[in-house]
């Protein structure tokens, strides 16, 4: 023992050294560091969980967004269809109106034409009577009196009228 340098005092001093060091390290190194490691572990776990939650939330929001988008699309389509229907009806109405107007105008035109024709015919008749009378006067020259003459022409015209209506 003596040759190896073992000595109770020195041994005890080393034991005390170790005890002191153990206490210091325990109190000032292991406790805070282990606590810190635990805190970090917890923090990381929390962060991971939070990330997971955020991810899930984002996915849910995405789904919700898509659903809303789909809904909007459907609504828009419905609205567009309704609008198309309305405009189609409107078009029909306008067309019908236009057609009716056109017909009316054509009818009016026709009436006008008819009227003018009749007017023309009556004018023509008068002219023909006059011309005939003039011609007849020239030909017959007073062989007929005024009244006989007029009667003859009118007979002729009646015949001509008959012919005209036949045509």
């Amino acid at each position: 023992m003596e040759k190896l340098g073992i000595n109770a005092t020195w041994l005890l001093a080393q034991v005390i050294n170790f005890g002191l060091l153990l206490f210091i390290l325990w109190r000032f190194a292991y406790k805070p560091v282990l606590g810190m490691l635990n805190a970090r572990k917890q923090k990381i776990q929390e962060s991971l969980e939070y990330a997971e939650k955020v991810k899930a939330d984002a996915a849910a929001q995405q789904k919700e967004f898509e659903r809303k988008l789909e809904e909007t699309r459907r609504e828009t389509q419905a609205a567009a269809a309704a609008a198309a229907q309305v405009s189609e009806k409107e078009r029909e109405a306008i067309l019908a109106q236009a057609r009716a107007d056109a017909r009316k105008m054509i009818d009016q035109a026709r009436e006008q034409i008819e009227y003018e024709r009749k007017q023309m015919l009556s004018e023509l008749r008068g002219e023909v009577v006059r011309l005939s009378m003039l011609a007849t006067q020239k030909v017959v020259s007073a062989s007929l009196d005024e009244n006989a003459h007029r009667r003859l022409v009118n007979e002729f015209l009646a015949q001509a009228d008959q012919l005209g209506t036949q045509n």
């Binding site: 073992i6 041994l11 153990l22 325990w26 805070p32 810190m36 805190a39």
Partner: protein, 338 residues
């Protein structure tokens, strides 16, 4: 040419000092190897050895390290905190792996052993500590050749320094002058390794008793269970020779375990002491070879080796303590009480 430059520089570094140093007569220095630590001075009744002084230096270094590591402790580690966390996490992880939740009980002792032994081993490797120390010089004599000495003031010279060796120990008294280095690795002092071994083994027993129960724990070593059963049977008039035979085997095995527990103290002590002490001796020898063979590269591979050994011994001491504590706290009485 450029390729050879580093080699030339290294060779110059190794060789040039060898041509300069002999001018100072360094060849005259002789090395002394002493197992027992050298006494530097006495403090009251306590003789302060260089290893004890170095343990205090080691402790101060550890405390400083811990102070800087935990000064601004934060969730985002940096600097020294990383190193401390690495050590703490390593031993916590090893403990959890070997012993599970109850390793928290062993953790402080195991980790402290690791840190203390690691710092002790590595501090001994710091160059230049070994050759600086106190050497007693007789009145009127000069110091041995090759040693540069400074006189201590009168009072200090009385208080400091190794006392003359007890007769018959080493000595051809005046011829042998032993230099007492100020700093010597604590692990090269058997007192330190023995103290750690005792703490390790005694704490192992205490933890064993705490976890397994005092009676049950000692039953492991002094196992009279089967012999008791034999006598119990004998009272009822039955002779069971088998029980008696197995009882003696159990008793013998238990005693073997008890002795192995005692032997642990010795193996712990001398494993650490032997490795580190031998390492320092090897470094010393290599240093002397360097000056003899005019090549200063000899100690370098051994320095690398000793750095590794210093870490390894700290690791081994701590992990063996952990394993022994784990074994002691495992209730392995299943087959005995079945």
């Amino acid at each position: 040419m450029k390729r050879w430059l580093p080699i030339i520089v290294v060779l110059a570094l190794f060789l040039v000092p060898a041509f300069i140093l002999p001018k100072f007569g360094s060849a005259a220095v002789t090395a002394s190897v002493a197992v027992s630590p050298e006494v530097l001075f006495t403090l009251g009744p306590l003789e302060i050895t260089n290893t004890l002084l170095t343990s205090w230096i080691v402790m101060i270094l550890i405390v400083l390290f811990v102070y800087f590591a935990t000064r601004k402790i934060s969730l985002v580690p940096g600097g020294a905190q990383n190193v401390l966390e690495l050590i703490v996490e390593m031993w916590d992880g090893l403990g959890q792996g070997v012993a599970g939740e109850r390793s928290r009980k062993f953790f402080p002792i195991v980790t402290t052993i690791f840190i203390y032994v690691l710092f002790s081993n590595l501090l001994g490797l710091v160059p230049g500590f070994g050759p600086i120390g106190i050497i007693p010089v007789q009145e009127g004599h000069s110091a041995p050749d090759g040693i540069i000495t400074f006189d201590l003031p009168g009072g200090l010279a009385e208080a400091l320094g190794p006392k003359p060796k007890a007769a018959g120990e080493h000595s051809a008294a005046e011829a042998e002058v032993v230099l007492a280095p100020f700093v010597r690795a604590p692990s090269t002092d058997i007192n330190m390794t023995l103290a750690l071994a005792l703490i390790s083994v005694i704490m192992t027993q205490i933890f064993g008793m705490q976890v397994v129960g005092v009676f049950k724990y000692w039953m492991k070593f002094f196992n009279f269970a089967k012999i008791g059963q034999f006598f119990g049977a004998l009272f009822k008039g039955k002779v069971k020779i088998g029980l008696l035979a197995f009882g003696f085997i159990d008793l013998f095995v238990g005693l073997l375990e008890f002795f192995s527990e005692m032997v642990k103290i010795i193996s712990f002590t001398f494993r650490l002491f032997g490795n580190i002490f031998a390492g320092e001796v090897v470094l010393l020898i290599m240093a002397f070879l360097s000056s003899t063979f005019v090549f200063f590269g000899f100690p370098f591979p051994f320095y690398a080796l000793e750095l590794f050994v210093g870490f390894m011994q700290a690791f081994v001491f701590a992990i063996l303590t952990l394993v022994f504590m784990t074994i002691a706290t495992t209730a392995h009485s299943a087959e005995e009480h079945a």
